[in-house]
């Protein structure tokens, strides 16, 4: 088991190195000059700025300095936020994205499992049709449209009720998180509902369910012990990657709802060509993704010995 974990960790580190390298060379290939600003500067100021960010050294030297810094967990100083370290920026903004992502996945998982079971239970009846129709909407309508419409919805509801039922944008309290998390988790919820439904239906026809039925086990018990418990396994499998994907993919929601998450910050950094922030965020998110996957693998390794062998 330890050998398995160690091997995965080493693979993970190599992957992070690969990401860091790909990012570095992609970034230094970008046309444009991060040190230019609206007002033109004199050559000496420019030289000083270059020295400050180490851009005056040869590319390969920069690369090794950069790798060395990453190894020490230092992503450097932001170009746009001149006195802030990229580490600080990640420390401040990543938790926001992570909280939003975790909540979105939770809502998606709970919703997906419940709706999925419901549709399987009421197969080919009204609840099934309604939910599956909504699932189709959730899969087919782009998230930015849903985000904008839901924001519009909040405003309308607030005005109709004459009270502040939910905040429209911003961050900080429970109420700020609900709608963005729901919007962010919607497509995942739709996906999980489908997954849960087909997984349930497969089990409904399985021999052990039929056996239990013929034995006269109470229906509620069959449903809970035999069907739900078995059907939920494949859903759990995809949760790990989903958290990482949702956390790193929340740009639109963060932008529309003015949430100070790392995704929004990344888009702004790209527009400003903020080298250090772009590289830092990418490497950080890459590492986050890699280690989430490893974590899930390791947990599975403990649960299911077959995984270790493959």
């Amino acid at each position: 088991m330890w050998w398995f974990i160690g091997k995965r960790l080493i693979q993970g580190l190599i992957t992070v190195w690969f990401i860091a390298t790909a990012t570095f060379f992609a970034m230094h290939n970008v046309p444009g000059d991060p040190l230019l600003n609206d007002r033109a500067t004199t050559p000496i100021i420019r030289a000083n700025l270059e020295a400050k960010y180490g851009l005056d050294k040869p590319l390969l030297t920069q690369y090794f300095i950069y790798l060395n810094n990453i190894a020490h967990g230092d992503f450097g100083i932001s170009f746009a936020q001149e006195n802030r370290e990229v580490n600080d920026i990640i420390r401040e903004h990543f938790p926001v994205s992570a909280i939003l992502g975790v909540l979105a996945v939770l809502i998606a998982a709970v919703g997906g499992i419940l709706w999925g079971s419901l549709t399987a239970l009421y197969r080919n009846r009204m609840p099934d049709y309604i939910i599956m129709f909504l699932v189709i909407l959730g899969i087919s309508v782009p998230s930015f449209v849903i985000a904008a419409l839901s924001q519009l919805g909040i405003v309308t509801i607030n005005q109709l009720l004459g009270i502040n039922f939910l905040p429209v944008a911003g961050w900080g309290t429970i109420y700020h998180m609900l709608v963005p998390a729901l919007v962010l988790g919607l497509s995942t919820m739709a996906y999980l509902t489908r997954l849960m439904r087909s997984s349930m239906l497969e089990i409904v026809y399985s021999d052990f369910v039929r056996t239990a039925k013929s034995k006269g086990v109470p229906p509620a018990r069959i449903f809970a012990r035999h069907q739900l418990r078995n059907a939920v396994l494949p859903v759990i499998t995809v949760l790990g990657p989903s958290i990482a994907a949702i956390t790193t993919g929340g740009f639109v929601v963060e932008i529309v709802f003015a949430i100070p998450g790392l995704g929004r910050f990344f888009v702004e950094a790209v527009q400003q060509l903020d080298y250090t922030v772009i590289m830092g965020t990418t490497v950080f998110y890459g590492a986050f993704l890699v280690f989430m996957v490893i974590l899930v693998d390791v947990i599975y390794g403990f649960i299911d010995p077959r995984v270790r062998l493959s």
């Binding site: 444009g32 087919s140 309508v141 782009p142 997984s199 639109v252 790209v270 060509l273």
Partner: protein, 453 residues
């Protein structure tokens, strides 16, 4: 125990009718097609996909409107609106009224070309501000949009040309104090604006021929836009067709290329096996680990786009670079499975070469899986394009794509919803169609795949 004679071991005569089947033999694909046809949902989505392709490829041949052409008489016009327009003289700049006004009044008939106002100085005014409203001015003293301000009383007229649409407007002038701030003195008039066009505009838009006998005062029908126009007066239908070309090009071509690459990569890895396979799959793992959207954005700016380029090509390349591993893994898995099958073993024993094995047995048997993957990758690619264009990192304007059209439409969502609804609907329909088609294909091609999501 029975006695056997040599005659008992003589071969039978060939019986010509014993092998006749009661049903015609069906190939894998024929069988799949029958199953697909039985699936009403999949069949409908297949028709939808064909419809989309017709819309994209043949549409521009039928609806021959230049998607870049700007009809400035009809800006953000919703579909299905009265198109009658009064013919007025060419616009010439207004140098001011010739008569003195006694109160706020019109200096010329109000048309969508211009509304000309003049007024007499308000009591205690050190200047005036002109407002325009869509609603009557009530006790809230909300006069609407401030259009212009004059900080002395020497100018007592104003010409409004700002985005005038046919309909009723309420114009007000409000007196300013000596600090240039509005006071409580105000006058309001109601103005009914008529749609107008000049003869030269009408000729330019192709509503009337060059030698048409049209006079000022006649009524014409302005150009038809079945789905309305956008914020620059461009025809929505033509733009949706042009946008379809970009969105579907990326949506279909990109998955096609990266799935193809994945198939080659995966089958090579799977076929060669051993160390090389391990190495190749490790590399695929690296690429999978890259945060997808972050790298899409990164590659997009790293490739850069030059003047007049739409940015479709860099997006295509970025997608190919990032998205091939999934299908590579899938195909490799399939190949590994097929390699162990008895018929492949048999074929090998009979002396089949590698190329024969790959092209006769392995690839055809993975084709079903690949086709299903491809169908599911298309919605994903379309979403990616839409998403990137929405945050301004996708296709560069003025090239239309459904994503960038949605991005533009979302700003005017409240006033002219058609600018958002149509492109968003196109995205949704396309994604839906390919998803359902994928479901259907999967069910039709491989019953075992039913539950592997």
């Amino acid at each position: 125990m029975a006695e056997y004679s040599a005659a008992d071991f003589a071969p039978l005569k060939v019986q010509s009718h014993s092998q006749t089947l009661s049903r015609p033999s069906l190939s894998y694909w024929q069988d799949a097609w029958i199953r697909l046809k039985a699936n009403r949902r999949a069949l409908t989505s297949l028709y939808l996909v064909i419809g989309l392709l017709v819309f994209t490829l043949l549409g521009p041949l039928i609806w021959r409107v230049n998607p870049a052409s700007q009809d400035l008489d009809q800006i953000s016009a919703p579909p299905g609106r009265d198109r009658g327009a009064l013919v007025v003289p060419e616009y010439t700049p207004w140098e001011g009224p010739t008569t003195q006004a006694t109160e706020l009044q019109l200096a010329a008939p109000p048309t969508s070309q211009a509304v000309r106002l003049q007024w007499a100085p308000l009591p205690n005014a050190h200047g005036h501000r002109v407002y325009r409203n869509l609603y009557p001015v009530g006790p809230e003293r909300a006069f609407g949009i401030p259009l212009a301000e004059f900080f002395d009383n020497s100018t007592l007229y104003f010409e409004d040309r700002l985005d005038l649409r046919p309909g009723r407007y309420y114009y007000s002038v409000v007196a300013l104090n000596d600090n240039g701030r509005p006071t409580t003195e105000a006058q309001t008039i109601t103005v009914d604006v008529r749609r107008a066009t000049s003869i030269s505009d009408a000729i330019k838009q192709g509503i009337i021929p060059v030698d048409a006998e049209v006079e000022v005062g006649d009524v014409l029908q302005v150009a038809l836009h079945p789905l309305g126009t956008d914020y620059l007066g461009r025809d929505m239908l033509a733009r949706l067709m042009a946008g379809a070309r970009v969105s579907l090009f990326i949506g279909i071509f990109a998955p096609f290329l990266y799935v193809l690459f994945g198939v080659v990569y995966g089958s090579v890895a799977g076929f060669l096996g051993g160390k090389i396979d391990q190495l190749m799959m490790r590399f695929a793992d690296f690429v999978v680990a890259l945060p997808f959207l972050l790298f899409m954005i990164l590659f997009k700016i790293a490739f850069g786009i030059g003047p007049g380029e739409s940015g479709v090509f860099p997006m295509l390349v970025a997608m190919i670079l990032l998205l091939w591993p999934a299908s590579a893994r899938l195909v490799r898995g399939q190949i590994l499975q097929i390699r162990e099958q008895g018929y492949v073993e048999a074929s090998k024993l009979l002396g089949a070469k590698s190329t024969y094995l790959i092209f006769r047995h392995m690839l055809p048997n993975t084709l079903g899986v690949v086709l299903v993957t491809l169908t599911f990758e298309i919605p994903r690619a379309i979403f990616t394009e839409a998403f990137l264009s929405f945050i301004g990192m996708g296709v560069a304007p003025p090239t239309p794509s459904w994503g960038s059209m949605s991005n533009e439409g979302i700003k005017t969502m409240l006033n002219t919803p058609h600018e958002l609804i149509f492109p968003a609907l196109m995205i949704s329909i396309t994604v839906l169609a390919f998803n359902l088609l994928g479901d259907g294909l999967r069910d039709a091609l491989d019953a075992r795949m039913r539950n592997t999501e």
